[in-house]
Symmetry: C2
Subunit: 260 residues, 2 copies
DNA sequence: TGTTTTGTTTCATATTATAAAACACTGTTT
DNA sequence: AAACAGTGTTTTATAATATGAAACAAAACA
């Protein structure tokens, strides 16, 4: 059992936050003592925190197993979050533009806690299409969006990420060698976009380009999810790349950053 | 300024929860003193809570206005929530079934805090289609999904809801008279499904039917979002109703409830 | 049947959350 | 310019309460 070996002192609110965050990680279902051991808080404390969260709908308790799960309250935060988020708000029209130009599924991604996470999606209207649901997560080494996010992160972030994270193989195309991944990241920075085919999911192609803020820091990546059959078509793929790069350039310019 | 006139004593964790919940309601952007007044906690307390949430990414602070907004951590909870949620898990195959049979956008909705909220969506692949993003909210009196959720709630819930909530007009088709709404709810219960055209959004038609648990309590509604042009086609609409009812009957039976 | 492992409750004690007040800073008004 | 009225934030003495150990209850297991 993995323990939280940080022996830092937490106040009551921090404890409640860490308790909640445990449900977003590896396990999404916890018992009181199990979670108490992981967090290093006493069972009584975890019990009280979970009961409080339960009354507000943040967690549910299975009446048979007595285990705790995430509750439905979180759905309530999605709409206000999307509404207040500058990136999703600003990116919407460019997502629509790219969707219209390419006919493929367009999605928006950020790095959160060392993972790629999809924060908005606009599905293709073709019969054969790729999906990318809101909230979908993946590691940062597999797939165009993930690699693009990693490529445009700070050098320090990239290094610590590569030091700490094992490059798990997800498909036969996943880059599992650090050197080849670093080479890919370098190429992405040079070309200004990332592409991948079946690195995370077999049959799924993907293209991705970074959206910059006024300082030239990547705040998100705009991506396309494309079925292999169309991804393999050079003409179509080039059209998609062009559309994507056009959109991120415009958006970044809007934020005060001019691509060279 | 609306104040939280409950003079109940809250413990530290409850205070932090109420602070967070404030961002899911009317305002999604708060100043310290403003929020302190609304919640009835001292500014120092709210300040400390917000700073703690800030370090964990639950809220962001605008560096200019010093106002607090929701942070990106919430995106992290979507995937585990969808994964652990029995309703979304179980409904998936029926959503796909209805989507295949009708070609329209299928979505799943629940009541959360007196609102309809979309907890899963499967977009139509037609050129002209209606969207219904995950997390989308609406009041319970306008639109087929909302009315269906209300119709199959407990009589006590319906009464208190109608007593407390003003029936705001959203379009020219919105039911704003209590009696006509109650009559509509009664009809929905009799027919086993709800339909609406342009009650919430002009040009948008909708059909909805309840998913029951083993006790016959509605745990969610399965719905279709259909553009007016196709909604007005009787043949198509009847096919959609049939598909929807077939799916909720099967799913409810799976849960141990047999429709009479 | 005994044994281990759950979730949960109790309770004395020390930790810490708390609100008032002060502070620093902003923009506005006089 | 000076006074004012708002902010967000920090300080601090004190009262309130979060806390972990232990006990309890109720499963699950051998």
């Amino acid at each position: 059992m993995k323990q939280n070996n940080d022996h830092k002192k937490y106040n009551a609110i921090e404890k409640s936050i860490l308790t909640l965050l445990a449900f977003s990680e590896d396990k999404s279902s916890w018992g009181v003592r199990e979670l108490s051991q992981k967090l290093g808080f006493s069972p009584a404390t975890v019990q009280r925190i979970l009961q409080t969260y339960k009354t507000y709908g943040f967690v549910k308790q299975d009446s048979q197993t007595r285990q705790y799960h995430l509750g439905n309250v979180f759905y309530k935060f999605i709409e206000p979050l999307q509404h207040v988020n500058q990136v999703t708000r600003g990116a919407r029209k460019y997502m629509e533009q790219v969707a219209a130009e390419t006919g493929e599924t367009v999605h928006l991604n950020i790095v959160e806690d060392g993972h790629r996470i999809c924060i908005d999606t606009l599905e293709s209207s073709r019969a054969l299409r790729a999906g990318m649901p809101l909230g979908h997560r993946s590691p940062l080494h597999a797939g165009a969006s993930a690699k693009c996010l990693l490529a445009f992160s700070s050098p320090e972030f990239i290094e610590t990420y590569l030091d700490l994270t094992p490059l798990t193989r997800l498909t036969e195309n996943t880059l599992v060698e650090r050197t080849s991944l670093e080479q890919a990241l370098s190429q992405i920075r040079q070309e200004g976009f990332a592409g991948s085919l079946g690195e995370r999911t077999p049959g799924l192609g993907s293209l991705s380009a970074p959206i910059m803020d006024h300082r030239g820091k990547a705040i998100a990546v705009l991506s396309l999810a494309i079925p292999e059959i169309r991804f393999s078509n050079d003409v179509h793929r080039n059209k998609c790349i062009e559309s994507l790069i056009g959109a991120v350039r415009e958006f970044s310019l809007e934020n005060g950053f001019l691509f060279r």
